[in-house]
């Protein structure tokens, strides 16, 4: 099944996440073969986090002590001199 979105437009995705879905740090990206690299290089990706059951982690791993860092070199691949900084949030 393919869904299409025009450049500059938005598309909503909705999933039902099962209650027993494993927690973890994941990522999302488009996967239309032969265009994947171009689309990801254009910034179509991001981190996807399924939080832990807070009873399962010590204080250090709680949401309050969490930082997020997405590292990419996609800016250097755009060929237009644009570079994109990495961020800790």
């Amino acid at each position: 099944m393919d869904r299409f979105v025009e450049g500059g437009q938005c598309l909503d995705y909705m999933w039902d996440i099962a209650a027993d879905h494993p927690a973890g740090t994941y990522w999302y990206h488009p996967h239309y073969h032969t265009l994947t690299n171009a689309q990801v290089s254009g910034g179509a990706f991001g981190m996807l986090i399924i939080d832990d059951n807070q009873n399962d982690v010590n204080d250090w791993g709680s949401v309050d002590n969490e930082k997020i860092l997405q590292i990419s070199n996609t800016g250097s691949l755009m060929g237009n001199g644009v570079t994109r900084g990495n961020e800790i949030m």
């Binding site: 027993d20 494993p22 927690a23 973890g24 740090t25 994941y26 990522w27 990206h29 996967h31 073969h33 032969t34 994947t36 690299n37 990801v40 290089s41 990706f45 981190m47 986090i49 399924i50 832990d52 059951n53 399962d56 982690v57 010590n58 204080d59 250090w60 791993g61 709680s62 949401v63 002590n65 969490e66 930082k67 997020i68 860092l69 997405q70 590292i71 990419s72 070199n73 996609t74 691949l77 900084g85 990495n86 961020e87 800790i88 949030m89």
Partner: protein, 230 residues
């Protein structure tokens, strides 16, 4: 909530301020579409453990310590990190990926370092049922495959049918700049001693089995077991 933690922007790099000598969880994702991946390197002033790979907790939080960690161009890692006071870089290869400013300020909490890292971090929670597997399970010869991705994944035309509940053991080689992955499904590394950046007995959903940073995979076949592939 997370945006409130951003305190300053320096030279277009957003700098994160943290409390010195306190443990934090740093969720990290590396995306390098050119396939290189590379080594994420922390400053020596920080104590860093990789506690999860590709979303799955390691079996022991303090088994893999830094300061350097090799990651594919599509890997994720959860790090437990604490730093002494100061300003430090996080690098990918030779480039600065981010900056940390660790300062002695604010209130402390139970996450402050006690000097015993293993006690501070505790034990990982139980793995989900789908990942509670026996690495020594007997794999039928018919379920053993050699997958050589020389020439790129698009050129690979092999197909494998897997029934739900079956265990397969695959040897992955030459996955090249496009690391091997199955989408959604994690794989247990069973190569004795691990393979490249991948640790024996841990789960990954993205595996690289070729140069430049997994050279041993050429001579040490990379085995993996698949579970709940449905």
């Amino acid at each position: 909530m997370c945006l409130a933690k951003i305190l300053s922007i320096v030279n277009c790099t957003i700098r994160s301020q943290i409390e010195a000598n306190k443990w934090y969880r740093l969720r990290t994702s590396v995306v390098t579409p050119d396939g290189g991946g590379g080594t994420v390197k922390f400053d020596e002033s920080c104590t860093v453990y990789k506690v999860a790979s590709d979303g799955v907790y390691h079996s022991n939080f303090t088994a893999q310590n830094g300061p350097s960690f090799v990651m594919t161009g599509a890997s994720r890692a959860d790090f437990a990190i604490k730093c002494t006071s100061g300003k430090f870089d996080i690098k990918l290869g030779n480039g600065v990926a981010a900056k940390i400013h660790a300062d002695l300020f604010g209130t402390t909490s139970g996450a402050v370092s006690s000097g015993n890292d293993a006690n501070d971090l505790g034990s990982p929670p139980s793995k989900p049922a789908s990942l509670q597997v026996d690495a020594n399970v007997m794999v039928p010869e018919s379920n053993k495959k050699d997958i050589d991705l020389t020439g790129g994944f698009i050129g690979y035309t092999g197909s494998v049918n897997i029934e739900y509940g079956q265990t397969h053991e695959w040897v992955i080689s030459q996955s090249g700049p496009h690391p091997f992955h199955l989408h959604l499904y994690h794989m247990l590394i069973v190569t004795p001693g691990g393979c490249g950046a991948h640790i024996e007995g841990e789960f990954y959903d993205t595996i690289s089995s070729t140069e430049p940073w997994s050279v041993p995979c050429r001579s040490y076949p990379l085995y993996l077991n698949l579970f709940d592939f449905a």
